[in-house]
Protein backbone atom coordinates (compact mmCIF):
# COMPACT_ATOMS: atom_id res chain seq x y z
CA UNK A 1 0.00 0.00 0.00
CA UNK A 2 1.13 3.52 -0.68
CA UNK A 3 1.97 5.97 2.06
CA UNK A 4 -1.20 7.82 1.23
CA UNK A 5 -3.24 4.70 1.65
CA UNK A 6 -1.60 3.95 4.97
CA UNK A 7 -2.48 7.39 6.07
CA UNK A 8 -6.14 6.82 5.23
CA UNK A 9 -6.17 3.48 7.01
CA UNK A 10 -4.54 4.95 10.06
CA UNK A 11 -6.87 7.93 10.13
CA UNK A 12 -9.93 5.74 9.71
CA UNK A 13 -8.94 3.32 12.42
CA UNK A 14 -8.06 6.07 14.76
CA UNK A 15 -11.09 8.28 14.23
CA UNK A 16 -13.48 5.32 14.37
CA UNK A 17 -11.96 4.10 17.60
CA UNK A 18 -11.94 7.59 19.03
CA UNK A 19 -15.57 8.19 18.14
CA UNK A 20 -16.50 4.94 19.85
CA UNK A 21 -14.60 5.92 22.96
CA UNK A 22 -15.97 9.45 22.97
CA UNK A 23 -19.60 8.38 22.79
CA UNK A 24 -19.06 5.67 25.40
CA UNK A 25 -19.69 7.75 28.54
CA UNK A 26 -22.72 9.49 27.04
CA UNK A 27 -24.07 6.28 25.59
CA UNK A 28 -23.72 4.47 28.89
CA UNK A 29 -25.30 7.32 30.80
CA UNK A 30 -28.28 7.47 28.48
CA UNK A 31 -28.60 3.70 28.42
CA UNK A 32 -28.50 3.62 32.19
CA UNK A 33 -31.19 6.25 32.49
CA UNK A 34 -33.38 4.37 30.05
CA UNK A 35 -32.80 1.05 31.76
CA UNK A 36 -33.15 2.12 35.36
CA UNK A 37 -35.77 4.78 35.42
CA UNK A 38 -39.32 4.98 34.29
CA UNK A 39 -40.62 8.29 33.18
CA UNK A 40 -43.41 9.44 30.94
CA UNK A 41 -42.32 9.96 27.39
CA UNK A 42 -39.45 7.53 27.69
CA UNK A 43 -40.38 5.97 24.38
CA UNK A 44 -40.10 9.37 22.79
CA UNK A 45 -36.57 9.90 24.03
CA UNK A 46 -35.70 6.44 22.85
CA UNK A 47 -37.06 7.19 19.42
CA UNK A 48 -35.11 10.42 19.25
CA UNK A 49 -31.94 8.59 20.13
CA UNK A 50 -32.46 6.11 17.36
CA UNK A 51 -33.08 8.88 14.82
CA UNK A 52 -29.59 8.83 13.31
CA UNK A 53 -30.35 5.25 12.43
CA UNK A 54 -33.79 6.02 11.07
CA UNK A 55 -32.86 9.00 8.95
CA UNK A 56 -30.93 8.57 5.74
CA UNK A 57 -27.34 9.58 6.46
CA UNK A 58 -27.53 12.61 4.16
CA UNK A 59 -30.29 14.02 6.29
CA UNK A 60 -28.33 13.45 9.45
CA UNK A 61 -25.33 14.95 7.75
CA UNK A 62 -27.27 17.97 6.66
CA UNK A 63 -28.61 18.59 10.12
CA UNK A 64 -25.16 18.22 11.64
CA UNK A 65 -23.73 20.55 9.05
CA UNK A 66 -26.37 23.10 9.93
CA UNK A 67 -25.64 22.77 13.62
CA UNK A 68 -21.89 22.63 13.51
CA UNK A 69 -21.27 24.94 10.58
CA UNK A 70 -19.92 28.36 11.36
CA UNK A 71 -23.44 29.70 10.98
CA UNK A 72 -24.93 26.98 13.07
CA UNK A 73 -25.68 27.47 16.74
CA UNK A 74 -22.97 25.20 18.08
CA UNK A 75 -20.44 25.63 15.32
CA UNK A 76 -20.80 29.40 15.47
CA UNK A 77 -20.27 29.43 19.21
CA UNK A 78 -17.20 27.24 19.01
CA UNK A 79 -15.79 29.27 16.20
CA UNK A 80 -16.34 32.56 17.94
CA UNK A 81 -15.14 31.54 21.39
CA UNK A 82 -12.48 28.94 20.72
CA UNK A 83 -11.76 29.65 17.10
CA UNK A 84 -12.50 25.97 16.60
CA UNK A 85 -13.84 24.70 13.33
CA UNK A 86 -15.71 21.46 13.29
CA UNK A 87 -17.05 20.82 9.85
CA UNK A 88 -14.65 19.90 7.07
CA UNK A 89 -12.04 18.93 9.62
CA UNK A 90 -11.30 15.62 11.33
CA UNK A 91 -13.52 16.81 14.17
CA UNK A 92 -16.43 16.78 11.78
CA UNK A 93 -15.64 13.21 10.90
CA UNK A 94 -15.54 12.36 14.57
CA UNK A 95 -18.90 13.94 15.21
CA UNK A 96 -20.52 12.32 12.20
CA UNK A 97 -19.25 8.90 13.19
CA UNK A 98 -20.17 9.38 16.81
CA UNK A 99 -23.70 10.50 16.08
CA UNK A 100 -24.28 7.73 13.59
CA UNK A 101 -23.13 4.98 15.92
CA UNK A 102 -24.67 6.39 19.09
CA UNK A 103 -27.99 4.54 18.84
CA UNK A 104 -26.23 1.22 18.42
CA UNK A 105 -24.24 1.69 21.58
CA UNK A 106 -27.19 2.91 23.61
CA UNK A 107 -29.50 0.09 22.63
CA UNK A 108 -26.94 -2.63 23.33
CA UNK A 109 -25.89 -1.17 26.64
CA UNK A 110 -29.45 -0.59 27.70
CA UNK A 111 -30.47 -4.19 27.13
CA UNK A 112 -27.40 -5.30 29.06
CA UNK A 113 -28.23 -3.02 31.98
CA UNK A 114 -31.78 -4.25 32.07
CA UNK A 115 -30.69 -7.86 32.28
CA UNK A 116 -28.69 -7.29 35.45
CA UNK A 117 -30.10 -8.77 38.60
CA UNK A 118 -31.01 -5.67 40.63
CA UNK A 119 -30.28 -7.63 43.80
CA UNK A 120 -26.56 -7.36 43.14
CA UNK A 121 -26.68 -3.61 42.96
CA UNK A 122 -28.82 -3.47 46.08
CA UNK A 123 -26.43 -5.57 48.09
CA UNK A 124 -23.51 -3.46 46.91
CA UNK A 125 -25.38 -0.48 48.29
CA UNK A 126 -25.87 -2.13 51.67
CA UNK A 127 -22.10 -2.44 51.70
CA UNK A 128 -21.83 1.30 51.56
CA UNK A 129 -21.27 1.80 47.86
CA UNK A 130 -22.73 4.96 46.38
CA UNK A 131 -24.37 5.14 42.98
CA UNK A 132 -21.14 5.93 41.17
CA UNK A 133 -19.23 3.10 42.74
CA UNK A 134 -22.10 0.69 42.15
CA UNK A 135 -22.15 1.68 38.52
CA UNK A 136 -18.47 1.24 37.91
CA UNK A 137 -17.90 -1.84 40.03
CA UNK A 138 -21.13 -3.74 39.55
CA UNK A 139 -23.40 -2.48 36.81
CA UNK A 140 -20.88 -1.77 34.09
CA UNK A 141 -18.75 -4.89 34.58
CA UNK A 142 -21.83 -7.09 34.62
CA UNK A 143 -23.06 -5.45 31.46
CA UNK A 144 -19.63 -5.77 29.89
CA UNK A 145 -20.67 -8.19 27.21
CA UNK A 146 -23.49 -5.96 26.05
CA UNK A 147 -21.35 -2.86 26.26
CA UNK A 148 -18.56 -4.46 24.28
CA UNK A 149 -21.13 -5.68 21.77
CA UNK A 150 -22.41 -2.15 21.40
CA UNK A 151 -18.88 -0.83 21.02
CA UNK A 152 -18.13 -3.34 18.28
CA UNK A 153 -21.29 -2.32 16.46
CA UNK A 154 -20.38 1.34 16.88
CA UNK A 155 -16.86 0.85 15.69
CA UNK A 156 -17.97 -1.19 12.70
CA UNK A 157 -20.60 1.35 11.85
CA UNK A 158 -18.01 4.11 12.11
CA UNK A 159 -15.74 2.25 9.72
CA UNK A 160 -18.55 1.96 7.20
CA UNK A 161 -20.14 5.36 7.66
CA UNK A 162 -20.21 7.37 4.51
CA UNK A 163 -23.25 9.55 3.92
CA UNK A 164 -23.08 11.77 6.97
CA UNK A 165 -19.31 11.99 6.95
CA UNK A 166 -19.03 13.31 3.43
CA UNK A 167 -21.74 15.83 4.16
CA UNK A 168 -20.16 17.13 7.34
CA UNK A 169 -16.50 16.73 6.59
CA UNK A 170 -16.25 16.54 2.84
CA UNK A 171 -13.69 14.31 1.29
CA UNK A 172 -10.46 16.16 1.81
CA UNK A 173 -7.49 13.96 1.03
CA UNK A 174 -5.15 13.72 3.96
CA UNK A 175 -7.61 15.45 6.26
CA UNK A 176 -11.04 13.94 6.31
CA UNK A 177 -10.78 11.14 3.82
CA UNK A 178 -11.73 7.82 5.40
CA UNK A 179 -11.59 4.32 3.99
CA UNK A 180 -15.30 4.44 3.36
CA UNK A 181 -15.04 7.62 1.32
CA UNK A 182 -12.18 6.18 -0.69
CA UNK A 183 -14.09 2.98 -1.33
CA UNK A 184 -17.09 5.00 -2.42
CA UNK A 185 -14.95 6.93 -4.82
CA UNK A 186 -13.38 3.83 -6.29
CA UNK A 187 -16.73 2.20 -6.74
CA UNK A 188 -17.98 5.25 -8.59
CA UNK A 189 -14.94 5.24 -10.82
CA UNK A 190 -15.47 1.58 -11.54
CA UNK A 191 -12.12 0.73 -9.95
CA UNK A 192 -13.55 -2.34 -8.32
CA UNK A 193 -10.23 -4.05 -7.74
CA UNK A 194 -8.93 -1.12 -5.78
CA UNK A 195 -12.20 -0.83 -3.90
CA UNK A 196 -11.92 -4.44 -2.90
CA UNK A 197 -8.41 -3.93 -1.65
CA UNK A 198 -9.59 -1.12 0.58
CA UNK A 199 -12.53 -3.23 1.66
CA UNK A 200 -10.05 -5.89 2.68
CA UNK A 201 -8.33 -3.35 4.88
CA UNK A 202 -11.63 -2.33 6.48
CA UNK A 203 -12.37 -5.95 7.10
CA UNK A 204 -9.05 -6.41 8.84
CA UNK A 205 -9.79 -3.45 11.09
CA UNK A 206 -13.20 -4.90 11.91
CA UNK A 207 -11.61 -8.24 12.59
CA UNK A 208 -9.17 -6.71 15.01
CA UNK A 209 -12.05 -5.10 16.88
CA UNK A 210 -14.10 -8.29 16.99
CA UNK A 211 -11.14 -10.33 18.08
CA UNK A 212 -10.17 -7.85 20.77
CA UNK A 213 -13.63 -7.92 22.27
CA UNK A 214 -13.70 -11.71 22.25
CA UNK A 215 -10.33 -11.69 23.89
CA UNK A 216 -11.49 -9.28 26.56
CA UNK A 217 -14.47 -11.48 27.38
CA UNK A 218 -12.24 -14.52 27.57
CA UNK A 219 -9.85 -12.70 29.85
CA UNK A 220 -12.61 -11.91 32.24
CA UNK A 221 -13.91 -15.44 32.26
CA UNK A 222 -10.42 -16.77 32.77
CA UNK A 223 -9.66 -14.44 35.64
CA UNK A 224 -12.55 -15.73 37.67
Amino acid sequence: MSAEEWEIVWFTAWVSALSTVVILPFGLAVAWLLARHQWPGKSIIETLISLPLVMPPVATGLILLKMFGRRGAIGGFLHDTLNLDIVFTWRGVLIALGVMSFPLLVRSARVAFEEINPRLEQIARTMGAGEVRVFFTITAPLALRGILGGMILSFARALGEFGATIMVAGNIPGQTSTLSLSIFQSVQLGQDAYAFRLLGVSTVLAFIAVWTSEWLMRQRKGSK
Binding site: V58, I172, Q185, Q188
Partner: protein, 236 residues
Protein backbone atom coordinates in the same frame (compact mmCIF):
# COMPACT_ATOMS: atom_id res chain seq x y z
CA UNK B 1 -48.96 0.48 -8.51
CA UNK B 2 -47.87 -3.10 -8.62
CA UNK B 3 -44.47 -3.39 -7.06
CA UNK B 4 -42.81 -4.61 -10.26
CA UNK B 5 -41.63 -2.64 -13.21
CA UNK B 6 -44.47 -2.17 -15.65
CA UNK B 7 -43.35 -3.62 -18.98
CA UNK B 8 -45.33 -1.03 -20.91
CA UNK B 9 -43.63 1.86 -19.19
CA UNK B 10 -40.55 3.75 -20.26
CA UNK B 11 -37.87 3.47 -17.63
CA UNK B 12 -35.65 6.51 -17.70
CA UNK B 13 -32.40 6.54 -15.74
CA UNK B 14 -31.47 10.16 -15.44
CA UNK B 15 -28.92 12.29 -13.65
CA UNK B 16 -30.21 13.75 -10.41
CA UNK B 17 -29.69 17.32 -11.61
CA UNK B 18 -32.38 16.74 -14.22
CA UNK B 19 -35.01 15.73 -11.70
CA UNK B 20 -37.27 18.77 -11.74
CA UNK B 21 -37.12 19.51 -15.42
CA UNK B 22 -37.66 15.91 -16.51
CA UNK B 23 -40.56 15.47 -14.14
CA UNK B 24 -42.28 18.45 -15.66
CA UNK B 25 -41.64 17.34 -19.20
CA UNK B 26 -42.76 13.78 -18.48
CA UNK B 27 -45.98 14.90 -16.87
CA UNK B 28 -46.99 16.69 -20.03
CA UNK B 29 -45.76 13.85 -22.21
CA UNK B 30 -47.76 11.25 -20.33
CA UNK B 31 -50.86 13.34 -20.77
CA UNK B 32 -50.27 13.71 -24.48
CA UNK B 33 -49.37 10.16 -25.35
CA UNK B 34 -50.66 7.93 -22.58
CA UNK B 35 -47.22 6.40 -22.26
CA UNK B 36 -45.96 6.05 -18.75
CA UNK B 37 -42.56 7.41 -17.87
CA UNK B 38 -40.82 5.93 -14.84
CA UNK B 39 -37.73 7.66 -13.54
CA UNK B 40 -34.75 6.48 -11.59
CA UNK B 41 -32.76 9.55 -10.67
CA UNK B 42 -29.28 9.30 -9.26
CA UNK B 43 -25.63 10.05 -9.76
CA UNK B 44 -24.70 9.38 -13.37
CA UNK B 45 -21.87 7.06 -12.50
CA UNK B 46 -24.20 4.92 -10.37
CA UNK B 47 -26.82 4.79 -13.04
CA UNK B 48 -24.19 3.65 -15.54
CA UNK B 49 -23.10 0.89 -13.18
CA UNK B 50 -26.65 -0.19 -12.62
CA UNK B 51 -27.28 -0.37 -16.35
CA UNK B 52 -24.08 -2.37 -16.73
CA UNK B 53 -25.42 -4.87 -14.21
CA UNK B 54 -28.57 -5.30 -16.23
CA UNK B 55 -30.91 -2.78 -14.75
CA UNK B 56 -34.15 -2.64 -16.73
CA UNK B 57 -33.79 0.79 -18.33
CA UNK B 58 -35.03 2.08 -21.65
CA UNK B 59 -33.37 5.47 -21.65
CA UNK B 60 -30.20 6.76 -20.06
CA UNK B 61 -29.81 10.48 -19.59
CA UNK B 62 -26.34 11.11 -18.23
CA UNK B 63 -24.79 14.26 -16.87
CA UNK B 64 -21.52 13.62 -18.69
CA UNK B 65 -20.24 11.92 -21.76
CA UNK B 66 -17.87 9.63 -19.87
CA UNK B 67 -20.70 7.62 -18.36
CA UNK B 68 -22.35 7.15 -21.71
CA UNK B 69 -19.05 6.30 -23.39
CA UNK B 70 -18.51 3.47 -20.92
CA UNK B 71 -21.87 1.96 -21.71
CA UNK B 72 -21.39 2.39 -25.42
CA UNK B 73 -18.06 0.60 -25.28
CA UNK B 74 -19.82 -2.30 -23.62
CA UNK B 75 -22.37 -2.30 -26.40
CA UNK B 76 -25.31 -1.38 -24.23
CA UNK B 77 -26.35 1.73 -26.13
CA UNK B 78 -28.30 2.05 -29.36
CA UNK B 79 -25.66 4.26 -31.01
CA UNK B 80 -27.86 6.07 -33.47
CA UNK B 81 -30.13 7.34 -30.71
CA UNK B 82 -27.33 8.97 -28.75
CA UNK B 83 -27.29 12.73 -28.78
CA UNK B 84 -26.28 15.56 -26.53
CA UNK B 85 -28.41 18.60 -26.70
CA UNK B 86 -28.30 19.92 -23.20
CA UNK B 87 -25.52 21.88 -21.70
CA UNK B 88 -24.90 23.73 -18.50
CA UNK B 89 -22.56 26.36 -17.22
CA UNK B 90 -20.44 26.56 -14.14
CA UNK B 91 -20.91 29.30 -11.60
CA UNK B 92 -19.06 30.34 -8.50
CA UNK B 93 -21.39 30.67 -5.55
CA UNK B 94 -20.97 32.35 -2.20
CA UNK B 95 -23.36 32.78 0.69
CA UNK B 96 -26.13 35.23 0.07
CA UNK B 97 -24.70 37.68 2.60
CA UNK B 98 -21.11 37.04 1.74
CA UNK B 99 -18.56 39.82 2.00
CA UNK B 100 -16.16 37.92 -0.15
CA UNK B 101 -16.11 39.36 -3.60
CA UNK B 102 -15.19 36.99 -6.34
CA UNK B 103 -14.90 38.59 -9.70
CA UNK B 104 -13.39 35.72 -11.60
CA UNK B 105 -11.98 32.29 -11.08
CA UNK B 106 -8.56 33.82 -10.53
CA UNK B 107 -9.70 35.11 -7.19
CA UNK B 108 -10.05 31.54 -6.03
CA UNK B 109 -6.30 31.26 -5.84
CA UNK B 110 -6.05 34.15 -3.42
CA UNK B 111 -5.37 33.39 0.24
CA UNK B 112 -8.62 34.95 1.44
CA UNK B 113 -10.37 31.98 -0.12
CA UNK B 114 -9.48 29.19 2.21
CA UNK B 115 -11.75 26.45 0.98
CA UNK B 116 -13.52 25.67 -2.24
CA UNK B 117 -16.21 23.07 -2.42
CA UNK B 118 -16.85 20.99 -5.52
CA UNK B 119 -18.73 17.88 -6.32
CA UNK B 120 -16.17 15.08 -6.40
CA UNK B 121 -13.69 16.11 -9.14
CA UNK B 122 -12.93 12.50 -9.87
CA UNK B 123 -16.39 10.99 -10.11
CA UNK B 124 -19.20 13.50 -10.23
CA UNK B 125 -19.68 15.26 -13.60
CA UNK B 126 -20.06 18.72 -12.08
CA UNK B 127 -16.83 18.21 -10.22
CA UNK B 128 -15.03 16.80 -13.20
CA UNK B 129 -16.01 19.75 -15.35
CA UNK B 130 -15.01 22.15 -12.60
CA UNK B 131 -11.61 20.56 -12.37
CA UNK B 132 -11.14 20.58 -16.10
CA UNK B 133 -11.99 24.23 -16.12
CA UNK B 134 -9.56 25.08 -13.34
CA UNK B 135 -6.85 23.03 -15.01
CA UNK B 136 -7.48 24.81 -18.25
CA UNK B 137 -7.24 28.14 -16.44
CA UNK B 138 -3.96 26.96 -14.88
CA UNK B 139 -5.44 27.42 -11.42
CA UNK B 140 -5.80 23.81 -10.37
CA UNK B 141 -2.38 23.37 -8.78
CA UNK B 142 -2.79 26.48 -6.69
CA UNK B 143 -6.28 25.64 -5.46
CA UNK B 144 -6.06 21.87 -5.22
CA UNK B 145 -5.20 21.91 -1.53
CA UNK B 146 -8.27 24.03 -0.81
CA UNK B 147 -10.69 21.65 -2.43
CA UNK B 148 -13.40 20.05 -0.38
CA UNK B 149 -15.24 17.48 -2.40
CA UNK B 150 -18.71 16.20 -1.78
CA UNK B 151 -20.73 13.52 -3.44
CA UNK B 152 -23.59 15.64 -4.63
CA UNK B 153 -24.60 19.16 -5.43
CA UNK B 154 -26.70 19.73 -2.40
CA UNK B 155 -23.82 18.88 -0.13
CA UNK B 156 -21.68 21.40 -1.97
CA UNK B 157 -24.28 24.11 -1.52
CA UNK B 158 -24.80 23.18 2.12
CA UNK B 159 -21.09 23.45 2.65
CA UNK B 160 -21.18 27.01 1.39
CA UNK B 161 -24.26 27.71 3.47
CA UNK B 162 -22.48 26.48 6.59
CA UNK B 163 -20.05 29.37 6.31
CA UNK B 164 -17.01 27.15 6.66
CA UNK B 165 -16.36 27.15 2.96
CA UNK B 166 -16.13 30.47 1.20
CA UNK B 167 -16.99 29.46 -2.30
CA UNK B 168 -18.43 26.64 -4.31
CA UNK B 169 -18.19 25.78 -7.95
CA UNK B 170 -21.46 24.30 -9.18
CA UNK B 171 -23.77 24.15 -12.16
CA UNK B 172 -25.80 27.21 -12.78
CA UNK B 173 -28.96 25.08 -12.70
CA UNK B 174 -28.11 23.86 -9.24
CA UNK B 175 -27.27 27.21 -7.72
CA UNK B 176 -30.99 27.91 -7.57
CA UNK B 177 -31.62 25.02 -5.17
CA UNK B 178 -30.43 27.03 -2.23
CA UNK B 179 -31.75 30.45 -1.41
CA UNK B 180 -28.91 31.01 0.99
CA UNK B 181 -26.31 31.19 -1.71
CA UNK B 182 -25.90 33.57 -4.55
CA UNK B 183 -23.95 33.46 -7.75
CA UNK B 184 -20.80 35.52 -7.42
CA UNK B 185 -19.74 35.08 -10.97
CA UNK B 186 -20.39 32.85 -13.92
CA UNK B 187 -17.70 31.00 -15.75
CA UNK B 188 -17.70 32.34 -19.29
CA UNK B 189 -19.01 29.77 -21.74
CA UNK B 190 -15.81 29.87 -23.73
CA UNK B 191 -13.53 29.14 -20.78
CA UNK B 192 -15.35 26.15 -19.43
CA UNK B 193 -15.07 22.72 -20.91
CA UNK B 194 -17.89 21.51 -23.08
CA UNK B 195 -20.50 20.43 -20.63
CA UNK B 196 -23.01 18.13 -22.21
CA UNK B 197 -25.81 15.79 -21.16
CA UNK B 198 -25.95 12.83 -23.52
CA UNK B 199 -29.05 10.73 -23.80
CA UNK B 200 -29.66 7.46 -25.57
CA UNK B 201 -31.95 4.48 -25.86
CA UNK B 202 -30.48 1.32 -24.42
CA UNK B 203 -29.99 -1.97 -26.24
CA UNK B 204 -31.82 -4.01 -23.64
CA UNK B 205 -34.84 -1.78 -23.64
CA UNK B 206 -38.07 -3.74 -23.56
CA UNK B 207 -39.97 -0.91 -25.17
CA UNK B 208 -37.47 0.47 -27.67
CA UNK B 209 -40.10 2.17 -29.77
CA UNK B 210 -41.73 3.99 -26.90
CA UNK B 211 -38.27 4.90 -25.69
CA UNK B 212 -37.34 6.37 -29.05
CA UNK B 213 -40.57 8.32 -29.09
CA UNK B 214 -39.78 9.78 -25.68
CA UNK B 215 -36.23 10.58 -26.69
CA UNK B 216 -37.62 12.39 -29.69
CA UNK B 217 -39.84 14.37 -27.41
CA UNK B 218 -36.91 15.31 -25.24
CA UNK B 219 -35.31 16.76 -28.31
CA UNK B 220 -38.43 18.70 -29.15
CA UNK B 221 -38.94 22.41 -28.97
CA UNK B 222 -41.44 21.96 -26.18
CA UNK B 223 -39.03 20.09 -23.96
CA UNK B 224 -36.31 22.56 -24.78
CA UNK B 225 -38.41 25.32 -23.35
CA UNK B 226 -38.75 23.52 -20.07
CA UNK B 227 -35.03 22.80 -19.86
CA UNK B 228 -34.33 26.44 -20.53
CA UNK B 229 -36.73 27.41 -17.84
CA UNK B 230 -34.64 25.45 -15.37
CA UNK B 231 -31.46 27.16 -16.52
CA UNK B 232 -30.00 24.65 -18.93
CA UNK B 233 -28.39 25.69 -22.14
CA UNK B 234 -30.19 24.03 -24.99
CA UNK B 235 -28.22 23.59 -28.17
CA UNK B 236 -30.04 23.14 -31.38
Amino acid sequence: ATPTLDAAAINVFAAASLTDSLKEIAAAYEKQTGDKVVFNFGASSFLARQIEEGAPAEVFFSADEAGMDGLEKKGLVVKETRNSRLSNSLVIVVTADSMVTIKSAKDLAEPRVKRIVLADPKTVPAGIYAREYLEKAKLWTSVESKIVSTDNVRAALAAVESGNVEVGLVYKTDAAISKKVKIACEVPAGDSPAISYPMAVLKEAKEPEAAKRFLKHLNSEEAGRVFKKFGFIVRN
